[in-house]
Homo-oligomer: 668 residues x 3
């Protein structure tokens, strides 16, 4: 559980920015929080300039009063470390905190996040500040959790200034030791890029053409590490001063700049901000589902926290529709259904000024006589009924690989074709999501043998060690489905020679001679063994079988008749390979074959747009049924029965749900 | 009238750049000017480098000869102050005149307008130059009017260099006095933006994300003021040295960077440059009409001057079609019909070199045996017949609000949806234009009680004082029609709490809880009281009535059945509200209701594409009838009769006009 | 012939980058080269950093071993001068080698080509290096040709840094002598751009609006000259040290930054890199054909060399399809058919690292058991059979004008409409290509009287001297077809007054009053003398005939009935004019009329997608027949007969070709 002080609590609340309002408003805030069932608020996200008006002055008085007021009213605090946006005096006194882009053009003060993660001044001043903050509030009884910084790197996600360049060289020295090794790793013999002195090496700045791809890849790793070091500087101070208080920082969803797999290992629990675009329609639920699954997977032993979402509209897209009545509630329950122990919002009270005043809030501009505040209050009451769920986990038998290294590498320039790593991954996730088959994400270095099925979509970069891990998984009895563009390069983005995908060749029982790619307007056709056909688009592997059997072949082009989908018995397991991008019908056929081989089955079969999950642990088991559809549904529960927690009524046989209805059954 | 020396004259001519040609060409120029009926030419627009080859040398000899030649031939001079494009020596000697963009990247010499409006060196050198110019020509008998600079800010419309930053801080100090007030106005408590020293404040430079919106809004105000100060520096010198000569600068149409409402108050008369895109079809006339109306409205007591237009094609759009025969004449007469006392062109003789050589001119590259020169000469002869019109005014009973503050604010980032303030305003204007109902534009601070109807489209920013002005107008008997997204924020772009649009809530008899916005692919439907329906797009207010009655309701979405269009009897007047964007049918229904309530009617009812206006004053009254259509028309004149000025024949009963025909009736 | 040492050889091979591989791989490389029929490899393209690790150290040992290994195995060397990408130490020691864009933002080290062509340090260091290289290998028996630099300007094609600015001023001083002449040429009297001191003049840097067009045009000429000077510095050293070795640099196709017409005059033979996009379908052949014709035309007395092409896919487009089986062979033979004496690839062995690892190579990642290597080997064997072709030429009777000055000028901003000079030129070329009519490109300064027909598409800029050359060609009996937008401006991009196109007015027998341009959605219609009609788009000249007769007239708009296509008997010849852009039917009608008048006929008439060319010389004559189609064809040979070189069988009567088949007949 997130906090041992609240063993049976789903946290509920939001960002609370009292410094935007006269102190006279605060008592009403707290009164309304209690009315809405709020038990936790995030304080201080952007308070640095308010607390520290210059390098040597600190004013905590107002925050003391906020803490005391909340504590007196039984509301706990998630205390942010305030470091996401430095005060204006900092760039004035230390201009080199400002980040620069690849052209050397600085990002200035005026919005937020205007600091280089490599800045020694920023790091030093943040450390001083966080120590003060921790010393003052680290033992306050209202404090439940630390919230370091805010959405690291969300706007400013790489820096090329002088200090970053020095830090990049230092990082490279630590990694490679010698320039010989760097030159080898970067393939620098090409294009006359050999380095003979360390100070010749640059970040991948604006050049006449694409910079060296391994340089770019290392720079992405470096950047993630630099932000992580900022996190760790704060983490270490907080741990030292308040060892019992859990620490997190709020992740964004599928966020490319930071390798959250590495990050999560340094965090006490994972939290994230879920902002699906209402224009996605039912895609908004799929967006939430895959986001929750990714975040949950990054710390598989713990529930996570939904740290931010919007009660209604956001303000930062070109068009910002509201969430219709009932949608916010259902998306909130979805988070819990998929493993969250906290449901939080940005923000408590809508700002009347500033850049986010049109971001919806728990209390809208129009006040509390609004549907938004009523829905907020209803949800608060409902979550109190789910206390027993806290601490339980989701336990999938299917895993999808996800690796930032592979993502970064496959989306570098100068490829055969553009591959959208996340879109392909999410398309496969959605297939399982729509069938109520729970899915974890796994990094290819993780232990895999707990899973019946592992799917590896476009796992382009795969180290020898991780390829061996995957191969051993299959040999030991696992079922693997790898797709085109997997295991092509090693950790330096060097092609592994010897027939693609060389390091999985044995497990898959095939090798690939070349690739044929197509524009959107063209297609090939797959013919399955049973005679059925489907369209194949975008990418075709020209496959040579060496042990695998063809489940489907291409129907046209110069490789007509060659295998497109294969299955290979290997050791105690089986490895499927999908050498093209089939349409939905074809994808289903391939995934059904893999699922059948792996003996995976869904929790319940339901009509479309009904989501079912299970959380379990400590002898408890909860069935979540969420109807995202526009019509009422009736769900056959099979053998499942138990008390439905919102209604208190025992559910058995079938379960009726209104449009946008939800049920949580405490399974007997 | 523009110049008391020419009481019965419509000015006719264009930019004259003799410095582009050998002096031997000048006599032919003047001869052809007389042939074409030209009585005024604009001289010196870009002559600074010709006159002042270095900081301490001035060569006026050639310009003396130009003046004398024109004067000797009875052609008057509109003398430009030459300051729109500084000579190359200036950036070389004073590099800090160069403006910089938000990234700190300079704009260099090479085109035109490469000066920062905040540059003290530019301002100083411009003042020295203008004083010399005024001393030399301020009393010349050929001089009729001053033309300060040229199209201020048309290319370079904001500067972030060091001097501009200092000036911005000074401007803010004058406005706010203290940083506390600035922090409050900017809502700087959010995102840790509080300023504790003045030198921490920046222009809204490139930052990791959107800068503070009030900072951006103030920067727009500052920028407009800085350019205005450049204007005023020159204006004061000219007024001092040649107090009798009227002063103007040429405006562009709906031009965002400069608050022309404030500017016009400092000018003796308004002039502008009308460049409708021929690809607009009949939209080109509507473009001219709304532009003329806006310019005329900025100085309601005076005719304006059409300072520039193209005889045929321009050269600066991606595609530049010509004006077909007759179009240039009709668009010129339109200017007069809507209040202009001058019809001028860019330029007299087509350049053979430089960036604008493919901009058409009164004398084309191919010479005078061309349709263009023939049309120019015909128009010159016709305008002589309209001398009696000079000095009369257009006097509408309908007004549409237009406010740069509202424009700037509503189009800042981070909104619920993008609103195109000008497009919405022009759509409403066009409705009146197509019905021959004359329209003024008004700033919400203006006296409104002379109007029967005031329409306020998306008047997003409205100060308390101006909201009171609008409310008093309705209370006193006026008819108001406000649309969605009006009166949401105050002058600091802070949301006015208490139910949108709080400060118009009483007059409108309603409040709005929230907004639902849609992509282009979606719609709602309006149902009017009589049962008719129309489509509603883009934006829907969720309205609570408190006194107003619904004229139409929404048919779908979660607010189905709620009011979308309302009418509220208030005081002696009435306030309509339009809470969505209806299609053309719906807009007509709403505007017809407002027009009927306000008892507004057109001058004459005419077929499509026939434009009718009235100019009046000093006991005179002129009816303009312009047939923009492709077919001949016959117009019923109702009770109107009088001599048609082009033909000299008395018109009564009906008036026949050929395709592209025009008539001006001196009403008896 | 390219090299007198190999009189009967078609060169075959590719870029060879042994420094990317362990030395143990080299013997296998050479063995496979021999297997594949390779007789020439390009070495050293990007070896500068490998050879020169710092300013004072040179390591040639590895390259000595490469040379000796190749020579020992009978493979010749095309030695690149390595200067296309400077080593990293150079920017570190001499930062001012880095180019800057128009905003002053530098291009950094990291990719390739990060040097300013005006950099004195780059030039000096390149000269030192090339002298060392020439001294070491200039007499090596394996050396066949020098390959200076690589694809000059392909990524970085203009520089505005301080040194370039000084060089630009020096170039202008040499060109104009005085500022008065520069001001006159630039039309600087407009927009206050007069220069009074040389150091006021800038490259056309980022300005508030378009820079002066003549300044831009001169900057393009300057830039081409600066790169050419880099070439010449190397050329002079190589000529001095190894006078017998021919020198080239590899051109790109229709490449705007460099005036290849001027460049080719400084080269011993022309070579270029042909990368048609497979997505073009049959357009890929047309792309190759027009490219080969342009390159061949730039040195009409010599065969050229296809220096680079891809064996299969490239890697640098967004989508990179492969070349299907047979396509690479046919495109290679096309080069020979159109005048090449060498067929080379990038590159020999596919890189496993770096930016171009997914560019296909003669040895793919998957090794030699691949269709690519098999096709490479087959082609090598076939080219050996074509040795007799070496040294022969293609001799067209039709020419199309092509002039970089005209290209640069017509595509500057601020025009009536955008004209795509290359697209229009290539559309006309393709018409001839599809009819097997051989075409040269000519610069308008070239001697024209060897041609029966000269087509001048949009020859916008034409000097008086060149207009006289064209006029004399017609007067002497030639047939000219000029199109709209020809002969509008002189070398300074000043409009030539007196009715467009003034300097061709006499030859064409007409003058143009004005232009009407249309958006893509509009059209006019042409009616030919015989009554047939076709669509006309984009551009219409309003033509006054003075001697020419109308072949077609416009059907609509205000110039309906006026001539659109004309023919004028002039001297002993005839001049056609096309005053609009007709559809394909109309274009054929116009071109057929011109072809008929000029008595031009094709080599052979063939089905679609069959390409026929003739190479001849020294009493030999070879007929190339290439079937790019998807079906077998049978070609009637007319009176042609002779031995087909691939099969060794005598062809007579008809020739059968399979899909993608090719034949070369040594004509009796």
């Amino acid at each position: 559980m997130i906090s041992s002080k609240f063993p049976s609590t789903i946290f509920y609340g939001g960002d609370y920015n009292p410094e935007q309002w006269p102190e006279s408003v605060w008592p009403e805030d707290v009164r309304l929080m209690k009315e809405a069932g709020v038990n936790l608020v995030s304080v201080g996200i952007f308070s640095w300039a308010r607390i520290q008006p210059d390098e040597h002055t600190f004013d905590f008085g107002w925050l003391d009063r906020v803490f005391d007021l909340l504590w007196a009213n039984g509301i706990s605090v998630c205390l942010a470390t305030c470091t996401a946006s430095p005060p204006a005096w900092m760039w004035r006194k230390y201009p080199n905190i400002l980040p620069e882009d690849a052209s050397g053009i600085p990002y200035n003060q005026g919005a937020r996040q205007h600091y280089s993660p490599s800045s020694s001044n920023y790091r030093r001043l943040a450390a001083v500040f966080v120590r003060k903050l921790a010393e003052r509030y680290g033992k306050h009884p209202a404090l439940v959790t630390w919230h370091i910084n805010n959405e690291y790197a969300c706007h400013m996600n790489e820096c090329h200034n002088a200090e970053s360049t020095l830090e990049f060289r230092a990082w490279l020295k630590r990694k490679y030791g010698t320039l010989e090794k760097l030159n080898e790793a970067w393939g620098a013999a090409f294009w006359s890029q050999l380095y003979h002195q360390w100070d010749e090496v640059l970040t991948p700045r604006r050049a006449p053409y694409h910079c060296n791809p391994t340089q770019q890849l290392d720079f992405k790793r470096f950047t993630s590490d630099e932000f992580l070091e900022c996190y760790l500087i704060e983490h270490r101070i907080l741990r030292e001063i308040s060892p019992a208080i859990p620490i997190t920082t709020n992740f964004i969803g599928f966020f490319k700049p930071l390798d959250y797999h590495r990050w999560a290992q340094e965090m006490d629990y994972v939290s994230w901000d879920n902002y699906p675009d209402p224009l996605l329609g039912h895609g908004a639920e799929a967006y939430g589902a895959v986001g929750h699954d990714l975040k949950r997977s990054q710390k598989k032993t713990m529930p996570f926290v939904l740290m931010e979402q919007a009660p209604a509209a956001v303000n930062w897209r070109p068009l910002n529709p509201t969430k219709n009545p009932g949608v916010m509630r259902l998306q909130s329950l979805q988070a819990v259904a998929r493993g969250a122990d906290g449901v939080m919002f940005f923000q408590w009270r809508a700002s009347k000024a500033g850049a986010e005043k049109y971001h919806s809030a728990m209390i809208p501009h129009a006040g509390v006589e609004t549907r938004t505040f009523k829905e907020i209050s209803q949800l608060g009451a409902e979550l109190k009924k789910l206390g027993a769920v806290a601490g339980t986990l989701v336990k999938p038998t299917v895993a999808i690989t996800f690796d930032w290294d592979a993502w970064w590498a496959v989306e570098l320039e100068s490829k055969v074709a553009r591959i959208d790593y996340v879109a392909w991954t999410q398309e496969i996730h959605r297939w399982f999501y729509e069938r109520n088959i729970a899915v974890d994400f796994v990094h290819p270095e993780e232990k895999l043998d707990g899973y019946s099925l592992v799917v590896a979509p476009a796992l382009y970069l795969l180290t020898k060690k991780n390829a061996d891990n995957v191969t051993a998984y299959v040999r030991g009895g696992g079922t693997l489905l790898a797709t085109y563009c997997s295991a092509i390069v090693d950790e330096n983005e060097h092609v592994v020679l010897g027939g693609y995908p060389a390091w999985l060749r044995e497990a898959l029982g095939l090798w690939i001679e070349e690739w044929a790619v197509m524009p959107e307007t063209q297609k090939n056709v797959l013919k399955f063994a049973g005679g059925e056909t489907c369209d194949a688009k975008h990418w075709c592997d020209v496959i040579h079988l060496e042990g695998a059997k063809a489940l489907a072949t291409f129907e046209s082009d110069f490789f007509a008749g060659r295998a497109a989908v294969t299955e290979n018995a290997f050791g105690k397991g089986a490895a499927f390979y999908l050498g093209t991008k089939p349409d939905a019908v074809g994808l289903t056929r391939v995934l059904e074959a893999a699922v059948a081989r792996a003996k995976v089955s869904p929790v319940l079969k339901t009509p479309a747009n009904v989501e079912v999950t299970v959380r379990e642990g400590g002898g408890k088991r909860f069935l979540f049924v969420l109807n995202h559809g526009e019509a009422a549904v009736e769900i056959a529960l099979g053998g499942i029965a138990g008390v439905e927690l919102f209604s208190g009524i025992r559910a058995t046989g079938t379960l009726k749900l209104a449009a946008l209805g939800a049920a949580v059954v405490s399974v007997e």
